[in-house]
Symmetry: C2
Subunit: 333 residues, 2 copies
Amino acid sequence: MIEAPYLLFLGDAPDMLAAKVAIGIKDWRPEIAKAQFRLPGCNADLGLPDMTMAEAAAAGIKTVVIGVANRGGHISSEWIAALKGALDAGMDIASGLHNLLSDEGELVAAAQMHGATLHDVRIPSVSYPIANGKKRSGKRVLAVGTDCSVGKMYTAIAMEREMRQRGHKATFRATGQTGILITGGGIPLDAVIADFMAGAVEYLTPENDDDHWDIIEGQGSLFHPSYSGVTMALIHGGQPDALILAHEPTRTHMRGLPHQPVPEIEDLREMALKLAHVVNPDCVVAGVSVNTAAFSEEEAIAYLTALEDRLNLPCVDPFRQGAARLVDALEHV
Amino acid sequence: MIEAPYLLFLGDAPDMLAAKVAIGIKDWRPEIAKAQFRLPGCNADLGLPDMTMAEAAAAGIKTVVIGVANRGGHISSEWIAALKGALDAGMDIASGLHNLLSDEGELVAAAQMHGATLHDVRIPSVSYPIANGKKRSGKRVLAVGTDCSVGKMYTAIAMEREMRQRGHKATFRATGQTGILITGGGIPLDAVIADFMAGAVEYLTPENDDDHWDIIEGQGSLFHPSYSGVTMALIHGGQPDALILAHEPTRTHMRGLPHQPVPEIEDLREMALKLAHVVNPDCVVAGVSVNTAAFSEEEAIAYLTALEDRLNLPCVDPFRQGAARLVDALEHV
């Protein structure tokens, strides 16, 4: 687990888009996003207090979280100097960058000297077991998409917020780097070795109270040839009681694959449910989450209404409308 | 690639069962299985000439292949001494053991001194790409099972032999450790990182002549919760034109999971074909391979005849009957 509270490191972010991870942390875990750190040339601003490393440590901040992509794919000397300052001040660092903190000799040495931890959340830090497929107590819901990057993480974390606001026991279970940094824990599923994928998901979603919901972050798509094996492991390791279908209606082909058609939502419903029944015969499809960002408000409502008639399931855009109706649907599962 | 011919290292195998890998190499690649090496106490015998390391090297043997499981899960000092002798004599070593040759300091040092190669086929030796799902030339067939360990490798390699005897262009593509040692190349799919599984299968089965068949070794099962993601990557990375269903009719539960029921062959047919159509809409199910080892000859024939009526597909046990009818079925694909 990554220790909170966080100082969000924005580095020399060229724009707000580059600070996507930091924005996610601030939006979803405002209680732990205490301050931001910016280098000269930074064009991102989260509206949080700017702090130096020394100020952050003095304010009780435990971890500097890199909330920005690194320009040019390498960790610059300006970044290294600032991050070394974080370790010198007694804080840990957490990163989801492809370049690992643990490959930077200066940071490794400073961390050792100060007894600090470098969290590289892109790679697994534990040896996961092989899945056993045994029925576990507690309830689980998983978002599965017609494609990658259609809003599965947003849907899951919005559902967690809604359920907690209702006083339900609910835990968002992160399976990707951004989700891990937002919540401080999880599994980097795309970096797990094939034989242990489903076991990692079982490890992430252990036995729990009968009325507790794990809301598992989805990855990939059963219909995306590059990543479908990861999605499969989520379904069989996650043992879901309910599935949420996630869809982006303007996609003309699968992400990154111009030749690969997007499936119909009905195809996803049928396929995902059949696969889920292998580990849980009682699994149901509870609702549909649609990313309508490309539509006007009016277009979005028209699309969702028509889709709801077509599928006979609650169809909502949780960004526009909140996740309440998806959570309502879980009350009966 | 592992250089042939081979000296098959049987070590101190307690019985023939422990020498499964060596038996596979001798059965399927007799032309490269030149000799065997046995330590005192070895109770396995392949009927090949016994050679010392020096004799093997003098006879032109290039690689010592460990064809036996190691007792107690560690590489003993007797093994190390013998294997060091192989390197001293100028040969390479190939192993599919969980304990890696490259973790044995003495062997690493000797290999460096002699410019020899230690092949640990249990771990990937190349960085595989992310799959792109683009249509490739050439034809591919994949065996998918109702469960793990139902004869998928045997089926594939028997089909390769039959196709080559008919003068067809065919290549068995190994995806597991035993298959890699038998053929000298392949991918250890269960040890590949999740994001690269399907890409590894694409790498293994590249574009080829229009009349060339890749016969891809299957792994796991879509219905086995521990390994289904690996099977999924084989289907989407392998882009099969034809599927062979593999089944073991006396299995009462999924291998290693007493609570997990075995699917009907019809369920496998429907599920696997739908998933294959995501990457190749023309894929067909060509036949069924049944492991009838638990049946008498009469029982086996009765079972296969009834199954063939039920499924309207050629149903054969390639161990009893050869793979001819499965290969016949591919002629029309």
